[in-house]
Symmetry: C2
Subunit: 448 residues, 2 copies
């Protein structure tokens, strides 16, 4: 008989992992708390558009589904376009010629992933089943059928909890284990989405192949393209501190004034800002850390293990990379699950911590620096360096986005590079000498 | 009609707070998950003896119950006695002449506090009622009667969650609120209790008026006196790292060898070490941080808000000080509960964080340094300084233990003093000059 595998959660990671396990020959049942999103209207306003990059693509390639996703769902963004208060635009490429990150909608992506999982043969997705906990010793999960109100108990060879940032498996069962370390840390900022619609002829109101940013110091607006010509826009801002905070944008007038003042070009493009503003909820953002990630034959993957804030565009990518890494470990250890899971958490926990640190770091970069001339010059110097000495210097953003270098290594290298560049940028004549070989030698010498 | 107050948990803080609220004229119902410990045998091995110090006494004085506790339950400990591997003893007073901390048993103390609460008139304690959550908007708590299996709903003017480190109110309800920050961090060490019985004539086997410590670097044993001539002893040690860890003490032989080697004087006193060892559980230790502490008219107090590791002996004292502080704020604001609770968490959260930092700090001090000659000399210099210039220098331990200086202030001042003393102790001739006025001037100059 085929071995029975249970996956909790049919989100992005759960669906992809179902494809992987099905390909490995397991019989997979995925239990999902919600109903089938492919049959329901997609809930608006609660999901940032996602940026798919190399780690995500690698994981999709591995099970042969990258091309289908690429052709149907993904819009390449080759760089950032910064929008100044004066309406001036500045372009900064993300990587080298030909490199891009890809805008995908969470809903579209999730629907597609579920269909791919089902198509892979050995996968059954059971909807409206909320996990009530796992008995780790017995490897038995309990689910409440929210249609009937009845509970079922399911035993499995292994249980993969891909049930997201507020994982029920983690909350109901792991958090009750002694010595389970856990942290949920909300950042001081919230976010609200807005939809910038297409022009009447269906064309895009902004450059389609870029991620747009309106950096304003303590807050920022971003926009990612959708297939239908619209942009999903997100305002990140403090809940309550300072003049510019959600608490200070209570009335319609305040909202209009705010956008007119700080995002004038965006305001001019938005047909019905106030209506859109009032229809979208205000949401919070958290980093969630825990350890261990596994007990016996149950393991956390993706956001359930290492949910992060969205500022590096790596939430989905790191979850997909979890699938890739877990698959490699099964290759190595077979289905000795406690051994596989122990190896998984040893390898992935430092990377989970690192992508969280990176995400917070990039928040400050996006919010405070991407509009800054010095910052842009620094990035140019690094790009030049990386072009000429690719084996010696890869910009941090490229390490995270366009490589499979472990996040932890990227973080460590990136912080070292940052310290070097901080000193370099202090030179008063940096604008004159930035393209000199002497400067390059000076930088590279400090790498040793 | 009297205002109805609900307290969740009849532990030390819940019972004391019941006394306070009863004295303020409220009608108080305390719901306790367990049965009445006064009628049951006290569960052994799960509670470190507690050290009652000034903050705790102040809170007891305020409602007039300090004297009764002092005369019935408390054994003064005027200092630490360090036991070397060679059996040599070193004494270090905790404070000045007449200052002491007091050993009390958790069970004895809790029983007494419950009786005092009931005696105060307006307090009813309901046992075998487990909290299932609180509706903050309605100020309604749900309890499961564990005898009947029935749930009851109780509405109150205010709900005080004094239900300990693993607070049900916090877990079931607060953790489900958006933007509730939460951390439970287990330290790498566990603990196991042992009971060193009295001599046959009822006398103590060790000096009764001291806290005994066997500091051994990465682990330590401590002993606190009980009223009946016995000592409650606790071994703190890593779960699994290094030669000396609980994982490496699996067999009876290993346990005996370990005690013979590293605690020879203690081993010689223990009549049946192995039996005692095997009867006591191995327990974990955590710091738990969260914020906010209150929603509407529900608030966390004591361990539910700021559970800490026991190394400063301030868990109970900080919880009692919460009662004192809350009472002062009710004096100031009346029973405008959201205002009172907001003021409470603003005042007490930094102090809760600080006592946790202090507790971890003192863990290293007790474990690594109290047996060290330099450390003891440093403490002597500080004691001398404090004796001569009491308004300029109060040792950190005294600030925490023998004063009501806010923990946060104590932590900040203490770290500053520590930095100064670290430099002072580096002087090669410190042993010759430690009693000179020149040295004193040098230290005091750095305070500016």
């Amino acid at each position: 008989m085929e071995k029975q595998i249970v996956i909790v959660g049919a989100g992005l990671v759960g669906s992809l992992w179902a494809v992987y396990m099905s390909k490995r020959g397991y019989s997979v049942t995925v239990y999902e708390r919600r109903s089938d999103i492919r049959k329901a209207e997609i809930v608006a306003g609660k999901s940032i558009n996602l940026a798919l990059s190399d780690r995500g693509w690698n994981a999709l390639e591995k099970v042969g589904i990258a091309d289908e996703i690429r052709s149907e769902l993904a819009i390449p963004m080759t760089g950032r376009i910064m929008h100044g208060t004066d309406g001036q635009l500045t372009y900064q490429p993300y990587g080298k010629e030909g490199q891009a990150i890809y805008s995908v909608s969470r809903g579209g992506m999730n629907s597609k992933m579920m269909s791919l999982a089902e198509r892979s043969g050995n996968v059954k997705i059971v909807y409206n089943h909320a996990c009530k906990g796992v008995d780790f010793e017995k490897s038995e999960a309990t689910f409440l059928n929210t249609d009937t109100g009845k509970e079922i108990h399911v035993t499995a060879d292994a249980i993969f909890a891909c049930d997201g940032a507020f994982s029920a498996v983690r909350y109901e069962s792991m958090q009750k284990q002694s010595r389970f370390s856990y942290e949920q840390r909300f950042i001081e900022d919230g976010y609200k989405e807005l939809l910038l619609p297409a022009n009447e002829d269906g064309s895009y109101k902004l450059d389609k192949n870029a991620l747009h940013i309106w950096p304003r110091g303590r807050f920022m607006l971003i926009a990612l393209p959708n297939e239908d010509g619209s942009f999903t826009c997100t305002l990140f801002m403090p809940f309550s501190d300072g003049k510019y905070s959600f608490d200070n944008l209570k009335s319609d007038e305040q909202v209009v004034e705010f956008f007119q003042e700080v995002f004038p070009d965006f305001y001019a493009l938005m047909p019905d800002l106030v209506k859109d503003w009032n229809e979208h909820p205000l949401s919070a953002l958290a980093i969630i850390r825990c350890f261990p990630w596994s007990y016996n034959k149950t393991v956390l993957m993706g956001d359930a293990a290492h949910a992060t804030v969205p500022f590096y565009g790596q939430g989905m990518n790191s979850g997909f990379e979890d699938c890739y890494a877990m698959n490699e470990l099964i290759e190595e250890h077979g289905d000795d699950w406690p051994t596989v899971f122990d190896a998984f958490q040893s390898e992935r926990k430092p990377n989970g911590d690192a992508i969280q640190d990176l995400s917070i770091h990039n928040y400050y970069v996006m919010r405070d620096f991407v509009g800054d001339a010095d910052f842009l010059l620094q990035k140019k110097i690094e790009a030049r360096l990386s072009e000429k000495y690719p084996e010696k210097w890869m910009p941090l953003y490229s390490q995270v986005t366009f490589s499979s270098i472990p996040y932890k290594t990227a973080w460590d290298t990136g912080m070292k590079q940052e310290a070097i560049m901080k000193e370099i940028m202090k030179q008063p004549n940096i604008r004159e000498i930035w393209e000199t070989e002497e400067l390059e030698r000076k930088i590279l010498a400090q790498l040793e």
